[in-house]
Chain length 204, copies 2
Amino acid sequence: MKTRERILHKSLELFNTLGEPNVTTLLISDELDISPGNLYYHFKSKIDILSELFDWYEHEMLALLDVPNEPMDIEDQWFFLHLIFESIARYRFVYQDVVNVMERHERLKHRFQKIITKKKAATLSILSSLQTQDSLRASDSEIEALCENIILTATFWISYAIVAGKHVDESVLSRGVYQVISLVVPYLEGEQRQQLQQLKQAYL
Amino acid sequence: MKTRERILHKSLELFNTLGEPNVTTLLISDELDISPGNLYYHFKSKIDILSELFDWYEHEMLALLDVPNEPMDIEDQWFFLHLIFESIARYRFVYQDVVNVMERHERLKHRFQKIITKKKAATLSILSSLQTQDSLRASDSEIEALCENIILTATFWISYAIVAGKHVDESVLSRGVYQVISLVVPYLEGEQRQQLQQLKQAYL
DNA sequence: GTCTATAGGAAGATAGAC
DNA sequence: GTCTATCTTCCTATAGAC
């Protein structure tokens, strides 16, 4: 792996573990056994590293959100949700210090907001398709509130787990999926509801 | 107001607006037109200021959470929820940078976790009382998941709003109450459900 | 209690040799 | 590409005069 790549990977790891604001360029270079000067040969500033890692995250997330145009069956939908959670965990430095990071970098904030908007649209599209299939019963205002709560839970689940003192692992992600499913279940009808209740257990 | 008090109030204001990690002791003293030396006469470190403001928050929140031992009627319960949101907004510096702040100060983290635990207990007690009144229909595992989602939404609603680019005002808080109510409504039965649906509108 | 001055120490970033 | 050395800036915190 080239040095430039190594810097990015190590930075991602450190940002995720310590939080971006607590990671210095010196720490990054120390961990890689390279000099600070070398780091600055590859990146002209710390923001450049942050920004490129955000590119990775953005790219991955947008690719994920672009797929669900064709109707998925219900199992696929929850698998899709799991992929979202994994992506969030992989780039959790974005979420851990959202307010701080976004407040300090207006451009990232704008891009993050666009992602949130896309997520909302994707969620709405899934819920609407369930609604027209008559498997989900909810008014428009209920769906809107549900959407918002789903995004909120997906966005902050990992922060919540960290503050609660949990180590971010597969079980924490599964529990996040479980929590989101729990939001939807009470609106589901008959067979779909049973199906999702069962699926939910797999995530507990 | 004595200087010591002024420092605390101004710090609270700055922490809330800029985020605690972005507020320097020099900024605080500048804003108050006092010297940095004077600030350090009153507080031996920045953490001392943070810690004392956390005391305020903790005191207010625990007082709020201690009340609901006698059964409240449903309107009071949502008023209680509104008070919680107001308290969170008043001390939003705690929530904006939760992970960061708590990770840097183990003791605060521990105290914060205790508050979360208390909140969960209070929520559970309210939901259980609704359950025994037969106005709420949900299994134990559903109630547990609901509890968790309520705390999560209450904890991160304001962060979510800030990242979405909203100015934290009364309407944002009301919308938070609305979102939490939305979590509970689908589990309610008959009259209670109607009543809460109506109450919900007041928060939109 | 309050000030000025300054120590002491990060952190981000650059210069210039190899 | 990589290193060492260093600059600058900013921040916490202290010393000592008033």
